[in-house]
């Protein structure tokens, strides 16, 4: 059975429960994909998308790369053209954040005081970037709080302490950061995850002096394991990034309201005229406090991505029971947004589909394209099955291409491509299967 079969309601499966109106809160990749999937699956009722941002729906992965580098005009990151959006026959309400929700009544309250009710509500509000404790205390308020009314849906993620300190989540964040980096000399990136690595790589390409500081032992060590992380970390060093890993940030230093550096817990001061804080994100659920929904690590859903009767969650904000893995999962990646949207749309229309994806993410840093399918635990045993890494991590990492298999307890849990996207996808098809397809 193909993924397509899995995501389309079977004949007769769609029943009497088809809603007369659907409201999607959040019009980024997950929300927009849900809207498109509803129409593609035959939904003809009223469809409304509510978003905190004024922008047309845009894609986020290019923000830390093509948009930040200036290689793309912001419009190039738009997810769909005007004609495609119009063909959706949906009402887009922009620049109006959701601030409260009543799950039992399926009623969303917005920043303007408006109440919007629908037969089905899909929550797709994504993430809010985390900030350093020293940022929070300087601001005297926690921006994650939904009472700010922006709650991660905004294109610009709020104040960050002294001027020159950035987070990167929305388009406006990216444009503000780009404007600053074109005038800055010394950037400190805090965080060694996907975003931190991509921003460091892009900023080196823009000619900045870059220092990357992070708690982990290597760039993406938590996501790729020690062996591949070591290669990636070394690539950054070869490209001139100064690395301070395995160390915490103590404080941001500033003068006249502008950032001047980052002080590490070791006492070392990293001078900076720009700082990017990329230490992870939290599900944007502040507006759902008191809604009646279970909020844990995100909106807690069942295996069908259902949070309550007629209420669903999709994308970065959704935590659901992955029946194939036998545990609760929340994925912060681009592919999940669109794949989960197919299942959510089917379930909104009365299907009964468990969502059992193979997790997948990619990251592009310098000339390296990394593809990660499945679960690549740091505890896994890694074997290179294509290409070569003779000499371990010696040699020029950027000329290297390889594909690897990750095993835990003898079972293949993930596959990885390092400049081998096609080979990684073939290994995925060979070694990883979604379970149980039978429930689809």
């Amino acid at each position: 059975m193909t993924h397509a079969d899995m995501c389309r309601p079977a004949p007769g499966e769609r029943g009497v429960t088809t809603p007369g109106s659907v409201l999607i809160v959040g019009a980024s990749a997950a929300g927009l994909s849900t809207a498109e999937a509803l129409r593609r699956q035959g939904y003809e009722g009223r469809l409304t998308l509510l978003d905190a941002e004024p922008h047309l729906p845009y894609d986020r992965p290019p923000l830390s790369k093509q948009v930040l580098a200036g290689a793309w005009e912001p419009a190039r990151a738009q997810l769909r053209g005007q004609a495609q959006l119009e063909a959706l026959n949906a009402a887009f309400v922009r620049g109006e954040p959701a601030v409260a929700f009543d799950a039992a009544a399926r009623e969303v309250h917005t920043s303007t005081g408006r109440a919007m009710r629908a037969d089905a509500v899909v929550i797709a509000t994504g993430l809010t970037p985390c900030r350093l404790p020293c940022q929070e205390s300087r601001n005297g308020q926690n921006r994650e709080d939904g009472q700010s009314g922006r709650d991660g849906q905004s294109g610009q993620s709020g104040r960050n302490g002294p001027a020159g300190v950035h987070v990167l989540r929305g388009l406006d964040d990216a444009l503000t950061l780009r404007a600053h980096l074109t005038a800055a000399r010394r950037l400190v990136v805090v965080g060694e995850g996907v975003l931190g690595g991509e921003v460091a790589a892009t900023a080196r390409g823009m000619g900045l002096d870059v220092t990357l500081a992070g708690l982990g032992s290597g760039i993406l060590a938590g996501q790729l394991g020690e062996q591949v992380s070591a290669l990636l970390t070394r690539t950054h060093a070869e490209r001139g990034v100064v690395l301070r890993l395995g160390v915490a940030v103590a404080e941001l230093t500033g003068a006249d309201g502008r950032v001047t550096g980052v002080r590490l817990a070791t006492g070392e001061l990293l001078p900076a005229d720009a700082v990017v804080v990329a230490i992870g994100s939290r599900p944007a659920t502040g507006w759902l406090e008191g809604s009646g929904l279970a909020l844990g690590d995100g909106v807690e859903c069942d295996a069908r991505c259902r949070a309550a009767e007629g209420v669903y969650a999709v994308g970065d904000v959704a935590s659901w029971e992955h029946e194939g893995l036998g545990r609760r999962l929340r994925l912060e990646n681009r592919t999940n947004a669109t794949e989960q949207a197919q299942v959510v749309a089917a379930n909104v229309l009365g299907a009964d589909r468990a969502y059992t994806p193979i997790p997948y993410f990619w990251t592009d840093q310098y000339d390296i394209k990394i593809q990660a399918h499945g679960l690549l635990s740091a505890a896994a045993e890694v074997s290179i099955v294509e290409g070569g890494v003779e000499g371990g991590v010696e040699g020029d990492a950027e000329q290297r291409r390889f594909a690897a298999i990750y095993r835990e307890g003898g079972q293949v849990t993930g596959v990885l491509g390092w400049n081998m996207p096609k080979q990684a996808r073939l290994l995925r098809q060979q070694h990883l299967v979604t379970r149980p397809l039978a429930s689809a």
């Binding site: 994909s33 593609r40 992965p61 669109t338 197919q342 593809q371 096609k422």
Partner: protein, 64 residues
């Protein structure tokens, strides 16, 4: 149906190939999408629409 691709937006995930291997492939060297059939037959329209929908790079466009 006419399918167009934007190579510059392709991230090499291969989602399209997983769904519709008769219509899409990937280059060996960099994984960028190869369009095998720009005007697929009607029996493939639904799956090609889904491939366009789930493409994580929004690199596939379909016009009727």
């Amino acid at each position: 149906m006419k399918v167009t691709i934007d190579e510059d937006k392709c991230c090499g995930a291969g989602s399209c190939v997983l769904l519709a291997p008769e219509v899409f492939d990937q280059r060996e060297d960099d994984g960028i999408v190869i369009l095998l059939d720009a005007e697929p037959g009607e029996d493939r329209h639904a799956v090609v629409r889904e491939a366009a929908a789930v493409c994580p790079g929004a690199a596939i466009a379909v016009s009727e």
